[in-house]
Amino acid sequence: MSRLPEQPGERISRSKTISFRFDGKTVQAYEGDTIGSALYAAGRRTFSRSFKYHRRRGLMCCAGQCPNCLVAVDGAPGVRACTEPVRDGIDVRHMNARPGLDFDVMRATDLAPSALTPPGFYYKTFIRPRRLWPVYEKVLRHAAGLGVLPKKQAEREWRTEYRRRHADVLVIGAGAAGLRAATAAAELGADVVLCDEGPEPGGRLLAEGHHERARALADEARSAGVEILVNAPALGYFDGLVPVWQGATLHQVRAKQVVFATGTIEQPLVFAGNDLPGVMLSDGARRLAALYAVRPGARAVVATTSDRGLEAAVALRDAGVEIAAVADLRPDAAAGGALGDRLAAGGTEVLAGHTILEARGRTTVTGAVLGRADGSGGEREVDCDLVIISGGAAPATSLVAQAGARTTYDAARGVFRTGELPDAVHAAGDLTGAVGGEAVRLSGSLAGTEAAHALGLGDGASRARVQEAHRRLADLNTQAVAVAVPPAVAGGERGKCFACFCEDVTAKDIKASIAEGYDSIELSKRYTTVTMGPCQGRMCQLTSVRVMGQETGQTLEQVGLTTARPPWSSVPMGALAGRPIEPAKRSSIHGRHRELGAKILWAGDWRRAYDYGDPQGEAVAVQRAAGLIDVSTLGKMLVRGPEAGAFLDRLYPNRFSNLKPGRIRYGVISSDAGRIVDDGTICRLDDETFYVTTTSSGAGAMEEWFGWWLADWRMDVHMTDVTQAIAAVNLAGPRARDIMATVCDLDVSNEAFAYMDGKRGLVAGVPCLILRIGFVGEVGYEIHYPAAHGEHLWDALIAAGAEHGLRPFGLEPQRLLRLQKMHILVGQDTDSESTPFAAAMPWIVKLDKADDFIGKWALEHYADVEPETALVGFTMADGHVPTEGAVVVQGTTPAGQVTSSRYSPQLGRVIGLAWVASSLARDDARITISDAGSTYEATVQNKPFYDPEGEVLRS
């Protein structure tokens, strides 16, 4: 164990010991530990194997920034051990190594000459011979990716959900600046959400000995009413929507103002062996020691470009780590200062103008080679088990850049920081280049206050504070910053120098890509995949830009950054998917259908009874006795007003203004271009009221269509969609009238209630609108009534029909029955080119209507032109049921297609509808249907297959 004595501000609770398993072995931990800190304390140094070369990787950042500690936890891959809290009993396993972490056979790729695996080698290598691609693919798929999902679906699912959160201000980043920003905005009355990817607010303060200050700032924020989300990284910025992932919840935060206080990311140095376990960022080592009381090493070498590394050296020395040497890249005059003096006083040698050239060791660091930064020698090897590196602090600009902010290059520090900001976007803290604790906190307060001001909050005093803050910040930010810009690569000749740890891209790889012509950072990114791994550029953006600049001779400003894209933090797909919420419409009779054993399928956004187990038997029952089908899904509208008839005359090609009250007429809706878009029946209820039905699938579109034209024409007409308010059933068959007579208070004789009559009456005690129509070709009553009585009326009809042989029937038998009558299904038998003329319905177009109607101009044209194709019925010669969509051919040329086809048990033959060449649209013409590789003969029939004269319907 390498636990330190109790550290002030440590996060662990030493009185609570818990255990978990790593690769099958039990590991002891304290409550508050991360998986990473517990494993490190237990002596583990190798946490993962790298993506391409399968090199050992160990803890480096201890902040969830780098990819070095990815593990699988309870089957979920891609979890960062350094930030994932330990829970009792969890099962943690390594990823990307076979057979194990300490011996991985794929390490051979690292030992092979690098000429065999240059960047893009897979693009070049596996393209020939082509016939071997299936083998290559199998191997590559096996080798690619990080982690393995559990095979069983149930084991790779967990509950996730969205939480929508509106806020006045969202602050991203809960370091000192973010906390101050949140508090300042909240104190002025703003509703503020603050999110941070760490386990508690405070940012760097926590690990740098200022935990009490951090916790006080957090308490202030909470007292001001700030909602603080921890372990909650912001994933991106989507036009004001910021998804924040927190465990099983994806917060969709919509804030009017967003403050980005994302801080900085400590950068690694690029040198030989910079990925060896034991090489650790200074912040990472400090976190490990300060928050988890784990000694990162016994003897350390520090390589730094700023005071950050020196501060870490002092802190770690105070915690009991021997600091063997410090290589400070800054030249003598700038380096050290009081920190350097402190280190020197403690016996640590501080080497100004030096950097690290190589980390040595086989499985973990055993030594470091230091040398002069200008390559003029001065090399020395120092024994150590820990290399602390600090390559500067790069502002985390990705999120704010996604929000539209510009970035500017800060030549003094060698980093990119935030520049011009768009409206409603604010930046605070290190992101803005603020220097020192006071400037950071002040810039936070300023950003929060300005965000509140933008919302109209605040007063004269707060505005005065803003002015003063601007003045003070200007003073603070003029102070010189003692930072050295590191070389792109140091010690490159000594071994692999990694620019990108996620994708195993070396500095040499980037140079190779430039040599091949990929000489911009965006092209190089795509070719080498640098910045495309789990760290999303946190560790490799700046290093790769530096290599690019060095090799191309461009300044870093000219090289620029790659485009910032979400997600900023890696996130499971399941978290993005959220709960599967899929609106399902169900008729008020739906439960009965289920009880009757119906096969339920989707029909548009409805759940419908497709059949009750015997579709053909159900169809036969309708024709021989009676059937009952739920047609509640039909679109239904009330159109009302003195101009209602005129309104419908304008919408439909036929007339409705002359329809008598109590009568029904069929209508086809055509588009401006004269194409069929929907159909249905219209019943006139009184002089000013029409009841319009549409197809089920077209209900929503027709409501919009009617609404658009009504708004445009400004007629005195009211239109009300009552689709879901009204249940509807169709009682059909030769015994339908007998059944109706037992439940209805109306005279349902043919004389009193004729075909195409619409009447209102009571059915089983329920007020109904009854339409005598016959989509399925039999005597039929389409009964429309309040949805709340759906099951009652259905039950009453079923009971009344029992002695008459009534059966419920579903969508499939209905399709067969309507096909026998050649009643079209819009959208199945028609398409976007179908006109009423071509669809054998010229009679529905009343071109003699005096007033204009939608599609009139086009239909007048079509009336004078012979259509190229026509919709006809057909019967098959040999009993084959062609696939709907099968091609009608003339010779070998496609000349149409089958739109509907069924075997009709009643007729004893296969029937269908098809579009054919107009020359073939005559009775007894022979057509050829190509289906599934064979051709079949069929005979055209233009009249309905069943009851061609409509005598049954009218009887």
Binding site: H166, R586, S632, A725, P767, A787, H789, H792
Partner: protein, 254 residues
Amino acid sequence: MSFEFLAPGAAVPGDRFAPVARTPMERAARAAGARFEARDGWTVATGYSSLEQEREACRRAAGWADVSHLGKLELHAAADDLAAIVADAAGGAALELGTATRAGDAWWLPLTTERALVVCEPAATGSLRERLEAAAASAARTVTVLDATCKYAALTLVGPLAREVFARFSAIDVRARVLPVAGFRPGSIARSPGLLVREGEERFLLMIGWALGQYLWETVADAGAHLGGAPVGLDALAEVAIGIAPVREEAGRA
């Protein structure tokens, strides 16, 4: 013009048939253990567990109740006619877009300047419709009064976590400063067109298409149960006050 084929309350019970209206959430409520009673021509869920347990759910987390049986009347008229009819029938109440007006034990909800929805107790639906029709009689232009009870399924969500439950399936901003008590928002609820009324600090009335009633129940129950909530019956719901004083008829008429 009578549109009784839209009105569940217009059913005529007799010797042979005794129609009782049912809500689209009834089966889901039954599966959740609901006890039912017939009230005002409807089968309604009056309770699930004990009254005390349901009270506790409403006090500590969230409770949800099927209130689809509430009467709903849709008014359609020219803007000035609509204002006059509402003022006449609702004791002087005026409609303001985005705000629900509580008058005569009913919610008056302006869908647009020309359309309004009135939500009332089921027993009051018939008489209120008659009042509206009477008030509409003097309008010069077309006025439509429809029983829209079955157009919308309705669910009441109550409790300190009601907002949190709601946030699991809707992006409508229900913070008190944006949607105060008596605030009204048409918008997307559970990815479907819906209506939302804030009936009290911790009480929301959700309305959605009738055919989506079961789906809404399942969605709310899934989110609510995960946050420690439970379904509640009408008896427990009755104890959670609607948090706005009704418009006094005398004051309105004055």
